[in-house]
């Protein structure tokens, strides 16, 4: 972690950033997030990843639901669809089916994903829709000013849990591993370079990739998911972890006190688009009569 041994000069760094090219993926709209929000590093991570992968802005669609994280599309210079609370995955599925040539990135927070939108996750995952789902998990509702979320810790005090949260938090990684997601990983907003690498890998994956990004909410959570606490808890994924071993991935996912950062699980299987192409081929070959006559 000693990256800054050499002094960094602002002008040189700015020159380097401009030359890098990832700024063309940034929109002119300034993010509305609070200063210090972990989401800044994600926005940066995505633009760098898109740039690294050489994707044309016009061929990328960022789809979101509602929430702090879901403001994301406005801050990137690609096509974007800021939809409804909880509906990011079915809309993103429609976009991908509507035009298979597009690179579809779904983004959202933990409330959007695991509360109101939880019913859609298993289906996007099991269908293996070829898209990337980035869940910015800060364990709280920020946009509505600090209520408990499905990933809030037990005992967490919020405006909706004044007597402490008593609902067991969900384990998103365990959910996705059991939902047949074909790519499951975890990153941390406080490790931006690793985060960028993980986003890049997730987009590269053919099929449904799920990246949980742990992040603090600097405004409404002063006790639990702070940079300080998260920074102490997270660890690198063990080097000997085999990402094709789903049971091992599940065991790792259950170690919530020390979240592992890295690729938990990956498998290659047909995407929804491929299944549909196969259906089209079969339809030509079989020439089924419709029901009735």
């Amino acid at each position: 972690m000693n990256e800054r041994v050499e002094p960094v000069y602002l002008e040189e760094k700015l020159e380097e950033i401009r030359a890098d090219g990832h700024l063309r993926y940034r929109s002119r709209s300034l993010p509305t997030w609070c200063p210090g929000c972990g989401y800044f590093s994600m926005a940066d991570g995505l633009t760098v990843a898109l740039n690294r992968l050489g994707l044309d802005n016009k061929d990328v669609v960022v789809v979101s639901g509602i929430g702090c994280a879901s403001r994301f599309p406005f801050f990137v210079n690609t096509y974007g669809f800021h939809t409804l609370h909880g509906r990011v995955l079915p809309v993103a599925t429609g976009v991908k089916i509507g035009n298979d040539a597009l690179t579809v990135i779904a983004v959202g927070g933990d409330g959007d994903a695991f509360a109101i939108g939880a019913g859609h996750i298993p289906h996007a995952a099991r269908r293996n829709v070829d898209m990337t789902y980035l869940v910015f998990d800060n364990g709280i509702y920020g946009l509505t000013k600090g209520q408990t979320s499905p990933t809030s810790a037990l005992g967490f005090r919020t405006s909706s849990t004044p007597y402490e949260n008593g609902d067991m938090p969900l384990n998103p990684l365990l959910m996705l591993l059991s939902y047949e997601a074909s790519w499951v990983g975890q990153a941390y907003a406080g490790r931006p370079h690793h985060l960028t690498d993980m986003i890049t890998m997730a987009i590269e994956h053919k099929g449904f990739s799920f990246l949980r990004i742990l992040s603090p909410c600097v405004t409404f959570d002063k006790t639990d998911n702070t940079y300080r606490n998260l920074g102490m808890k997270v660890r690198d994924i063990p080097e000997d972890h085999d990402p094709s071993d789903r049971l091992a991935a599940m065991a790792l996912a259950m170690e919530e006190d020390h979240p592992a950062l890295g690729l938990f699980y990956r498998e290659d299987r047909d995407t929804l688009g491929e299944v549909m192409q196969d259906a089209a081929r079969k339809a030509q070959a079989m020439n089924l009569a419709p029901k009735g006559l």
Binding site: S27, R28, S29, D56, N57, K58, D59, V61, V62, V63, I66, P73, F74, N77, T78, Y79, G80, F81, H82, T83, L84, R87, P90, V91, A92, T93, G94, V95, K96, I97, G98, N99, A101, L102, G119, H120, P122, H123, R127, L272, M276, A279, A280, K282, A283, Q284, N287, L288, A289, P290, K291, G292, L293
Partner: protein, 601 residues
């Protein structure tokens, strides 16, 4: 309905395992193949397995008919227990056909012959025996009796043979052969019977509009979609819309399109809107409960100006309601459902041909106005069969897209305020026009800052107004007498068939009346409606809901009074009910005392 020429209604009643619907299906297709107009409606039991009641009613006519008749001319019982309550619908001198050799004893009144009125004509035959002799099986009873009907009424066997062969084309040849044998055996029996009824099939009219195709409202919608180049379909099973999904599941992959059964209706509409955003001609179909779930996403489609097509086939409500019974009670939901002012286009065809044409144009209209289009039908329209004369090829084929002129990068005004209120739409993949669509109120760029709420609201409403005059789409139409009339009947959806039948009968009785169908419910064709109200002393609005939802819509929009005829009888409206109301209103209009009290204007 012209009284001259053929106009016969068949009804076949049996239990679920008797092949009742299959026999009705062959009958309707054979009649269509002979060149007749056909309207048919099947009633199924709600339970999936078991021996629930099935009735297939088929009206065969030489002139276009607009609804089923209340009286049946030829009635077939494949199960007396189910059929007995329906014998009364057979007209005087009509035929009641049944098995006169039951296999098990029944108590007094257990046989249908105990319930045939003296004016009706009983025809018994040993249906089961004939089937067993012809095919070594009692399973062909439905086909035997079909042959009997054809023989009795002197109908040519060839069209039946053709349809039977088509129907069993995918089965081993022995199946079709056995069914032909069963048909012929029944036909021979029927041919020798001494006729006492006065049912005349007559000859079919000369075909002048090409070959008729038999389809249901749902089938017509699927066909319209396919001809219009549908590219993606997302659906969730729900009665009575499911067969649209099932048809497209088979046909869409053949046409290179993409079909997905989603996890719920919310997902279905979400994916439809997503695909529409990406430029795909996308549709979904549901019923009232599903549409209720969809309204939030529908609002996003309105706000983000995304084209999409949503079919809603209404059934009895509210809540789960009457899933297998027809009703017209989702008008409010379709026209107004959702949060905020969310104008959308709602098109309600009145017959199967209308389903086909409206579905054929729905994508074009959705694209032209950048808005979700709801096709509002009902169970009666979804499931009833009619002969339709499909358009020549390519009538509904999609027109080439006109991409907007290039704008520079982030300055592209996706929601530019224009004279037509319609803004050129870029699709993902179009270079240099990246924008973010949103459900937030926004400015011309689509950004949620510096919002123009009043202007954008006006834009979303005003842009739809020309839809009532969209070329090629009948958004309203007047029938019957022109000019001033005593009674005007205003209708929408499937009920308009009964309205037309009632109006023709009222005209024959000398009542001055006229009927208007309104196909576009949102926006309303107000100018034409106003002219109709100006011409009518009184306007009657028959519809199948309790609140008079269409009456409310029209009288609210026009500020004119209407007379309501609201029925929630779980069946199509009775022509007699409408006719009685028309008679009453006509006599009110013409009653001198009433006219004098009215002030002699």
């Amino acid at each position: 309905m012209n009284k001259a020429g053929t106009d016969i209604q068949f009804a076949i009643c049996g239990s679920a395992g008797d092949g009742t619907i299959a026999a009705g299906d062959i009958m309707k297709r054979a009649a269509a193949a002979m060149g007749f107009h056909v309207i048919a409606f099947d009633v199924y039991p709600p339970e999936i397995r078991g021996f629930g009641k099935c009735i297939s009613r088929i009206r065969v006519s030489s002139e276009q008919a607009y609804s089923l008749k209340e009286q049946t001319d030829v009635f077939v019982s494949l199960n007396d227990g189910h059929a007995i309550p329906h014998v009364g619908e057979v007209r005087d001198c009509g035929a009641v056909i049944y098995d006169d050799h039951l296999i098990a004893p029944v108590p007094e009144g257990g046989h249908i012959s105990a319930h045939v009125r003296p004016a009706q004509i009983p025809y018994g035959l040993p249906i089961r025996q004939v089937s067993e002799q012809a095919t070594n099986s009692a399973r062909s009873r439905n086909i035997v009796v079909l042959g009997y009907v054809a023989g009795l009424l002197d109908m040519p066997p060839e069209p039946f043979h053709k349809v039977v062969n088509q129907k069993f084309a995918t089965k081993p040849p022995a199946v079709a052969e056995a069914n032909i044998k069963a048909f012929d055996a029944g036909f021979e029996v029927g041919r020798k019977v001494f006729r006492l009824d006065d049912v005349e099939v007559g000859s079919a009219p000369e075909a002048d509009r090409g070959e008729a195709v038999m389809m249901t409202g749902n089938g017509a919608i699927a066909r319209g979609f396919l001809e219009a180049g549908i590219q993606s379909y997302f659906g969730y099973p729900i009665t009575p819309a499911t067969s649209i999904m099932e048809r497209l599941a088979v046909e869409l992959p053949k046409a290179g399109g993409r079909f997905l059964q989603t996890e719920d209706e919310i997902s279905a509409i979400s994916a439809t809107i997503g695909a529409g955003f990406a430029g795909s001609r996308a549709a979904t179909a549901t019923s009232g409960p599903g549409l209720a779930l969809m309204t939030e996403m529908l609002g996003l489609g309105v706000m983000a100006e995304v084209p999409a097509v949503i079919v809603c086939s209404q059934r009895g409500g509210p809540s789960t309601g009457l899933p297998t019974k027809t009703e017209q009670s989702d008008l409010n939901l379709a026209v107004f459902g959702g949060s905020g002012d969310a104008p959308r286009i709602v098109i309600a065809p009145t017959n199967v041909e209308g389903c086909y044409r409206c579905a054929g144009m729905a994508f074009e209209i959705a694209e032209a106005f950048q808005v979700p289009v709801i096709l509002l039908i009902d169970l009666y329209l979804s499931n009833r069969y009619e002969t339709v004369f499909p358009s020549g090829r390519n009538v509904f084929a999609p027109k080439p897209r006109q991409a907007p002129e290039r704008r520079e990068g982030e300055e592209y005004k996706r929601f530019a305020l224009t004279e037509s209120h319609i803004s050129p739409r870029a699709l993902p993949g179009d270079p240099d026009m990246m924008y973010t669509a949103t459900g937030l109120e926004h400015n011309e760029l689509g950004k949620p800052g510096d919002v123009l709420h009043m202007k954008m609201n006006a834009k979303r409403h005003e842009k739809l107004k020309p839809a009532t005059r969209y070329p090629g789409l009948t958004t309203c139409k007047r029938f019957g007498a022109e000019g001033k009339v005593d009674v005007g009947i205003l209708g929408w959806g499937s009920t308009f068939g009964e309205i037309l039948e009632a109006m023709f009968e009222a005209q024959e009785e000398g009542i001055s009346c006229s009927a208007m169908k309104v196909v576009m419910l949102s926006p309303l064709p107000e100018e034409e409606l106003r002219a109709f109200f100006d011409d009518c002393e009184v306007v009657l609005v028959p519809e199948l809901n309790y609140q008079g939802q269409f009456a409310n819509l029209v009288s609210g929009a026009l500020g004119r009074p209407v007379v309501r005829l609201d029925r929630t009888c779980a069946t199509p409206m009775a022509v007699a009910d409408i006719l009685a109301e028309v008679r009453r209103l006509a006599s009110d209009v013409n009653e001198p005392a009433h006219a004098a009290a009215g002030g002699g204007a």
